[in-house]
């Protein structure tokens, strides 16, 4: 195992960084505005659930500088943007299902005029019953789709034989993505009826499909271009399509470029977030603390339209037992329709919500039994040959290796001792510990999405242009793609140009999501590079006087023979190839082998591989004020064989802190009318520089056996978010050190309010 000291890593870098630090990187709002550009503003519903009686735009239309105001009747194609279930109009037609739902689109000569006009629009609604609680929705039959159940073994008979059975509830709150760049799109008319859409999206193809459908055009007429996005985290996987669709509608109707950039408060109000969940659990253990049976009902707060909820729901079931083997399982998940903005993908995609429930159940059992939670956790970690509730058999489990390494390297027993001593000697503050192991499956759980393509051009001067379906959103995928191409051709990074993500160059892409972007696109890119090399190698062999093709390789911009440099440079070889009229471009393709899943039986082998890890949390709670510090988080993470330690460490640290935010600070509040009360950054707090753990240590567990990851460098985007769950339980344990009888419902986030109330509760 290779240890990386987190301080001062200079070896690997994020190749976009020089442009970011000088402010030269261009996001949509930074693009020069074309002549004639109109500025769009959305008039949205102020009613969370109701019939749309009328929309009066007459006053707004009279305003000087207003170009047009569009409503549902102006949509030339299908007024429908739903990705999985067709239940969401572009613009509301007869009814509204959440506050913030777009009703009309104002197009004006300036942003200021558009804003003024929007305030002059008046809509009337017939108010219908508003539901914001998923359990209430379930009771009233308000559902987005059917419920799903994963099961294994015979839970009913297993519970009957358990020595200990505990039942309870565990709820987790939503989470605002707070990508720093708000949603936006810029639609530009093209010759012959085409439209170019510059979109801040993780899913260019989804945008292309939606824009084409709402305009009644074929997809070939729509070119979607994504230079990069200023953060996504899942929030721009499907939900970018709405704003792109509106901008494109404006462009189509007026024939002018239309720019639509949401203001922050609009983005907060109108877009969906991580799904809040309410859940019931039942856990059964034998006398040796083996978890024998587990049952859970997940009530997902889906919001006013399905969006990606059903897919998110599925992943909750996949990860409902986290890193543990449970032989008898029944988990049912309900996608509940409520009247808040449609909730959507967010890093972890339902997995975190499921894992939280499992961890709550274990904590509950440990508290009742007077044992440590980590005793139960350790005993039940996944081993090779175990079966997941969905039928996949565990291979290459790193659960125990990560756990044991963390225990040893960070001397967990000593931590326990020191915390006990501290708590014994201090009366005004208490410390708490928690361990959070993770196991996360890599692949889109919707098997057909697991494919990608890449386009590679080798130009006459030997430089290389690469296009893939991957969208750079900070996760460093562009850097990884450059690394892949550079390695294939033996070129330095600066000879590889990574192009924008563009549907005219790479079509039918899956969104950059599910942590799988580098794996899928990287392998497609390898395929494209391989095709070009297959044309170049015979030529190189010939130029080297009939050398053995098998002995040819490329490195340092030179052709190598039998591991040694020759006189033949890459550039000369390429120049020669072009003279000989060889094709120096290639389109690569990759589809993940092995995976399959039968949604009827709810069984299969949906994941290419799993990522494992263990984190140890230590916190200190101020028992007077209810405030806290996260003293340390110590992690052993299964990276496979990291291809870029700087980028991968950034994903661990960033994901961890985002997960801690979800579990502690980030408190989405809705009132009974369905209004988001935490609707500004003054009211919704994400971690700042002072809220993060004082000490974060990440150890790279190298698990070098073959896997389906790109260059054996395992997917790293989502898994670390779930480490954050440890913060919740460490805080809980600190509260219990102060007040052993504290009443602490499992109800995340653990805010300062909940901490103080629990500290002094009966």
């Amino acid at each position: 195992m290779q240890e990386v000291k987190n301080k001062k890593i200079k070896k690997d870098i994020h190749l976009d960084a020089p442009f970011h630090v000088t402010g030269k990187t261009k996001y949509i709002d930074d693009l020069p505005e074309l002549e004639g550009t109109l500025f769009a503003k959305v008039f949205d519903s102020s009613c969370a659930h109701g019939k749309l009686i009328s929309v009066d735009t007459s006053k707004a239309e009279e305003l000087e500088g207003v170009f047009a105001i569009l409503t549902a009747k102006d949509v030339p194609g299908v007024n429908q943007i739903g990705g999985i279930i067709k239940d969401e109009p572009l613009l509301a037609e007869t009814d509204v299902h959440f506050m913030g739902q777009p009703v009309a689109l104002v197009l004006a000569e300036s942003e200021e005029i558009a804003h003024e006009a929007t305030a002059l629009i008046h809509a009337e609604y017939e108010q219908l019953e508003v539901i914001v609680d998923p359990k209430e929705a379930y009771a009233k039959g308000s559902m987005l789709s059917n419920s799903r159940t994963f099961s294994l073994g015979s839970p009913d008979s297993a519970f009957a034989e358990c020595a200990h059975v505990f039942e309870g509830k565990a709820d987790s709150g939503g989470q605002e993505h707070l990508y720093l760049e708000t949603q936006g799109a810029y639609a530009i008319p093209r010759d012959q009826g085409g439209i170019l859409v510059e979109s801040s999206t993780q899913g260019p193809t989804a945008v292309q499909r939606v824009v084409a459908a709402v305009l009644g055009l074929e997809m070939s007429k729509i070119e979607v271009n994504v230079n990069r996005i200023g953060g996504g985290f899942g929030g721009k996987e499907d939900q970018a399509s709405l704003w792109a669709g509106l901008a494109a509608l404006g462009c189509f109707v007026t024939g002018r470029p239309v720019k639509l950039i949401l203001e922050r408060h609009e983005d907060l109000r109108m877009t969906g977030k991580r799904h809040p969940y309410r859940s019931d659990y039942k856990i059964g253990l034998d006398k040796d603390l083996n978890i024998v049976a587990f049952e859970a009902s997940f009530f997902q707060n889906g919001g006013g339209a399905a969006d990606l909820s059903t897919a998110v729901l599925e992943r909750t079931l996949f990860h409902g037992t986290n890193s543990y083997f449970v032989p008898n399982v029944r988990m049912t998940a309900h996608p509940c329709k409520t009247h808040i903005a449609p909730n959507t993908a967010f890093r972890g995609f339902g997995g975190p919500q499921g894992m939280f429930v499992m961890e709550a159940a274990i904590h509950h059992a440990a508290r009742e039994l007077g044992v440590s939670p980590w005793g139960i956790q350790k005993k039940n970690l996944l081993r090779d040959g175990n079966e997941f509730s969905y039928g996949q058999i565990v291979e290459n489990s790193e659960a125990n290796r990560c756990w044991d390494q963390a225990h040893g390297d960070f001397d967990f027993l000593k931590m326990v001792e020191e915390v006990e001593e501290y708590n014994h000697s201090q009366s005004l503050s208490k410390k708490g510990l928690a361990i959070m192991p993770i196991c996360f499956g890599i692949s889109f759980t919707n098997t057909p999405m697991n494919n990608a393509r890449a386009l590679v051009h080798v130009y006459g001067d030997g430089s290389v242009g690469v296009s893939t379906g991957a969208v750079e959103m900070g996760q460093g995928v562009n850097t990884k793609m450059v690394q892949v191409a550079a390695l294939m051709f033996g070129l330095p990074y600066d000879r590889i140009r990574l192009e924008t993500t563009n549907t005219s160059r790479v079509a039918n892409t899956s969104p950059s999501a599910a942590s799988a972007t580098a794996d899928l696109n990287g392998r497609a890119l390898q395929d494209a590079c391989r095709q070009i090399l297959e044309r170049l190698v015979p030529l190189a062999a010939e130029l080297l006087g009939g050398a053995d093709e098998k002995q040819i390789s490329f490195s340092n911009e030179m052709v190598f023979l039998d591991g040694n440099p020759t006189e033949l440079s890459w550039d000369d070889l390429v120049a020669k190839a072009l003279l000989l009229r060889l094709n120096m471009s290639a389109k690569g393709h990759y589809s993940t082998p092995v995976i399959h899943f039968d949604k009827e039986k709810e069984k299969g082998h949906p994941f290419a591989y799993h990522v494992y890890g263990t984190s140890i949390f230590e916190v200190t709670v101020d028992c007077i004020r209810g405030t806290y510090d996260i003293d340390s988080v110590k992690i052993v993470h299964d990276f496979g064989s990291s291809m870029n330690k700087a980028v991968d460490l950034g994903q661990i640290e960033g994901g961890l802190v985002q997960g801690i935010g979800w579990m502690t600070l980030e408190d989405l509040q809705y009132d009974k009318q369905g209004r988001l009360r935490s609707h500004t950054l003054a009211n919704y707090k994400i971690p700042d520089v002072y809220s993060i753990p004082e000490d974060i240590q990440v150890k790279f567990l190298n698990t070098d056996h073959d896997n389906l990851a790109i260059l054996r460098s395992k997917a790293v985007g989502e898994p670390p978010l779930m480490y954050g769950i440890g913060a919740y339980f460490a805080l809980t344990n600190a509260i219990l050190a102060f007040n052993p009888n504290a009443n602490i419902p499992y109800d995340a986030p653990m805010t300062t309010e909940k901490i103080l109330m629990a500290l002094y509760s009966a």
Partner: protein, 473 residues
């Protein structure tokens, strides 16, 4: 005209643009797209600019969030955006951010680079603590900050607690060469008030840093003709006369934070200032603005109420002085007549050999957040008895609250567990919290108890067995 140096050149802007948001000006009119618009609330720092001016003869820079900064506040100053750091190669701050992978999606990055550069230009020593303080108003959603902190550390290591001069920073590759010409350029444009430049003193709204007005009603502000408070030198003093500390209404929180006069008179308030918003906002927000905003939860208001400060108001003809505790009448209603404005704040410095002063604040996020409840207390003991006390508390009623009844109860009593327990009952009878996004009414009542307890624990850490306060099962 408004005149200032934008990056490397002096520019003039018509006076009617004085209330425009600086970020809109630099992005839309100057087409400098490096600074990003993210929140328009001053909450995230992605639009951070540096504003340079002479202070005590030295050119120093203050970071500000340009999204809520009135353009007039750049008048006579050097305004620096990320583009103003362009040079051959990269600056050392930029290099550190690259080397430590302090950037991912990049949207917050220019703001961080500007804030970190600002840490070198404050006239204070470049230490890790000051580097972190410089980015306390910058939000990043990608990195989890650790890599950015590593970049801060490498910068701090370079300067080793020294206070670098501009020449040294240019020499070391932290600033482009043109910075050496800024002092001379600035000399040419300073000392011209907006009024002398032709601005008619408007009857309009009194505008200081804009940190509340530009959040509450940005669009009205952009086109308004405000009365610019920073244009009045008479409101900018900080001075100690005998044992009375007085300062003008347009003194900023940052001015006080850095003021030797203030810190000598009222020592030990480092943590208090850290709890006040962010560096950027402290550099913009005025104390007067905090007071006349009349928020029931204003941190500085509660701080000053706890010190039993006085304020001075003037209508231009006559001036009156009244205790701050008599200023707040009802929600956002003040004892202020038409045409009056706040000029001065006066604090009688307590005798710290017998007095204890403490400020407490609890919010959802520890820093850079609005309090759920905040409180300040000044308690003077003589022969173990409470000779005088002033206790303020915010977030538990329609106004910033001065606890009269609790004070009356405490006067003359020995500060022990018994007195404390009874005082807590009186305190509860004086407050009327409501449930809102900052917490439920029950929570705020509990917090009010705890913060008063915290004040007392600071005086006597064994005043009470805290676990006795746990609700019995």
């Amino acid at each position: 005209m408004i005149r200032f140096i934008l990056n490397d050149r002096t520019i003039s802007v018509p006076l009617q643009d004085s209330a425009k948001a600086t970020l809109d000006f630099i992005r839309k009119e100057r087409k400098l797209k490096g600074m990003k618009l993210v929140c328009k609330e001053g909450e995230c720092g992605a639009c951070t600019v540096l504003v340079g001016d002479f202070e005590s003869g030295r050119l120093v820079y203050r970071s500000m969030t340009s999204c809520i900064m009135p353009l007039a506040n750049a008048h006579g100053k050097h305004l620096l955006t990320i583009e103003g750091l362009d040079m051959e190669g990269l600056t050392k701050v930029q290099r550190a951010m690259i080397d430590q992978s302090g950037t991912q999606c990049g949207f917050c990055t220019p703001g961080f680079v500007v804030s970190m550069t600002g840490a070198l230009l404050t006239g204070e020593e470049v230490s890790m603590k000051n580097m972190v303080k410089a980015i306390d108003g910058n939000i990043c959603r990608c990195t989890g900050y650790k890599s950015i902190l590593r970049a801060c550390e490498s910068v701090a290591d370079d300067w080793n607690d020294s206070v670098p001069s501009i020449e040294q920073l240019v020499e070391a590759g932290y600033l482009p060469d043109y910075f050496n010409t800024i002092p001379a350029k600035l000399e040419k444009i300073k000392n011209q008030s907006l009024q002398s430049n032709g601005l008619k003193r408007a009857e309009g709204i009194k505008l200081g840093g804009g940190t509340d007005l530009y959040v509450q009603k940005p669009r009205q502000m952009y086109t308004s003709a405000p009365d610019h408070m920073f244009d009045k030198p008479e409101l900018n003093h900080i001075e100690l006369n005998g044992n009375v500390l007085s300062f003008g209404a347009s003194v900023t929180m940052g001015d006080l934070y850095r003021s030797a006069v203030f810190n000598d008179a009222l020592p030990g308030n480092e943590e208090f200032f850290k709890l006040l918003s962010s560096s950027q906002i402290r550099n913009m927000a005025t104390i007067g603005g905090n007071l006349v905003n009349a928020s029931p939860i204003g941190d500085f208001t509660i701080f000053l109420l706890g010190l039993n400060a006085d304020i001075e108001l003037t209508d231009g003809k006559s001036t009156r002085r009244l205790p701050l505790r008599e200023f707040y009448l009802d929600y956002k209603k003040m004892n202020m007549r038409d045409g009056e404005h706040l000029t001065n704040i006066l604090i009688e410095i307590p005798d710290f050999s017998s007095s204890y002063f403490n400020f407490e604040k609890v919010s959802q996020r520890k820093y850079l957040d609005i309090a759920s409840v905040n409180s300040a207390a000044l308690i003077q003991l003589q022969n173990d008895k409470i000779a005088e006390c002033h206790i303020s508390i915010g977030g538990v009623g329609p106004t910033p609250k001065y606890l009269n009844k609790t004070r009356d109860f405490l006067l003359g009593k020995i500060l022990d567990g018994n007195t404390l327990t009874k005082a807590l009952d009186v305190l509860q009878s004086e407050i009327s919290p409501i449930s809102d996004p900052r917490g439920s009414a029950d929570y705020k009542r509990l917090l009010a108890r705890q913060l008063f307890l915290a004040h007392c624990l600071k005086i006597n850490s064994e005043i009470l067995d805290v676990s006795s306060l746990i609700t019995p099962a």
